[in-house]
Amino acid sequence: MNAPTTTANEDLFAYPQDRACPWQPSPGYQDLGRQGPLHRVRLWDGRWIWMVTGHSQARRLLADPRMSADRSRDDFPAVLPRLDAPIFKPIAIIGFDPPVHDVHRRLLAPDFSLKQVRAMRPRVEDLARRLVADMLQAGPPVDLVEAYALPIPSMVISELLGVPYDDHEFFEAKTVGLLQAKSAEDAERAGRELWDYLDGLITRKEREPGGAGVLSRLAGEVDEDGDLTREDLLRIALALLIGGHDTTSQMIALGVVTLLEHPGQLAALRADPDVLPAAVDELLRLVSITDVSGVRVATEDIEIDGEVIRAGEGVLVSSSMTNRDPGVFPRPYEFDVHRTRGGNAASGRQHLTFGFGIHQCLGQNLARMELEVAFSVLFEGIPGLRLGVPLEALPSRSGGTMQGVHTLPVEW
């Protein structure tokens, strides 16, 4: 990158910063957002990158083919220490540019299509109802992350991929280890354990072809000289397993917190089930669970709004701030399930929580369905649900990418 460690960078805004409220960006990002759409921010290693807080600038940059997502490039910024781990460098799909990106994404498109997701919904509803019945039987207090928010996406992704759910404690713990690691070494260690596990699993699938799930299907399509090598498959398995459960489970958890803290909005949702899809997109917008829509490096000089992003400079798009661009979202800090009143089921999808451009989340329709089911079944089954500790006492994750809570004590 063009910006070596210099003392000049010390004056820049330090990225990342912790949230003060579970569903609002850090006060520092809010200040930054008021100053304009593009900012230079200083990273942990003393380098700087661009942080984008304007919605239209973010969409233009994320859709621009001159921006590379290739994490193996020397100039690709490691925005957190853990992202320096070798395991993250060639992370499948999300970390590749076309043409490889497009080939692998299209291999998976049928499994994540709207039709596929709709077909899965009844099973996810059964699962959510079973989990609610178990909680009611166990009685309060319950940790909602462990009892509900995590098992739903975790079971769904294991079934979709064909990963035995019996191994869930292992892959959940390693995923959190990988995504919450404070150092590259810790991330690498957790990532390697997941890698070895998936390697063994895929070997079993190769020996016994015809099993259920995406990984069995893809194991039959591996061709060392073609579009999908065995290593590609392993990387795809890792990306889907990691991408598939932590994001969604934390979105369920913080979504529940946000609803409980806005009783009027929760009542509006209960009064009219048709509001559910819009309410889910409004929660996705507000909570911006990954806090970041994407990180890229410019491969050419790019002029944008009077600034020039030089070739080799890094760009981080803030989802929490682009989702609060007042030009797109009036009263941006307010939670309003009726925000898109009069529009159709897609009108709430302007937010950048799932990113934009060719890398926009592959699992977004799956995630939306899981969230719809999770909120509706939970509040129907346990109408008296409330937080078991004061909001300020919730053990929140630190700033950076994946936001969320370590545990979510609830009562009723």
Binding site: S56, R59, R60, L62, A63, D64, P65, R66, D102, R105, R106, A109, P110, D111, F112, S113, L114, K115, Q116, I302, G343, N344, A345, A346, S347, R349, Q350, G355, F356, G357, I358, Q360, C361, L362, Q364, N365
Partner: protein
């Protein structure tokens, strides 16, 4: 209005079929299929939403069907497409 969808750009995000279900659907491969290439004006809002939300700029509304020009003559004029290449 005339509507086109470029399957070679589609990333199967599915917004189009939610925005305008009478105009767009998806094939077995998960990629976009146009059901109605010349929807009526009453669908304009939905189709414009689909065009705006499509993350990979696969959907285009040909504003003036009468002016048949090069393929990009009808490319939408939203600022996002300017640099989408």
């Amino acid at each position: 209005m005339k509507v086109t969808a470029d399957r070679s750009r589609c990333m199967a995000a599915g917004h189009c079929a939610i925005s305008a279900p009478d105009v767009f659907d998806h094939g077995e491969d998960g990629l976009v299929v146009v059901l109605d290439t010349e929807p009526g004006e009453e669908r304009r809002r939905e189709v414009e939403l689909a065009e705006d939300l499509c993350p990979s700029r696969a959907i285009a509304i040909l504003r003036t069907a009468a002016v048949a020009g090069p393929p990009d003559a009808g490319t939408p004029d939203t600022p996002d497409t300017a640099s989408a290449g």
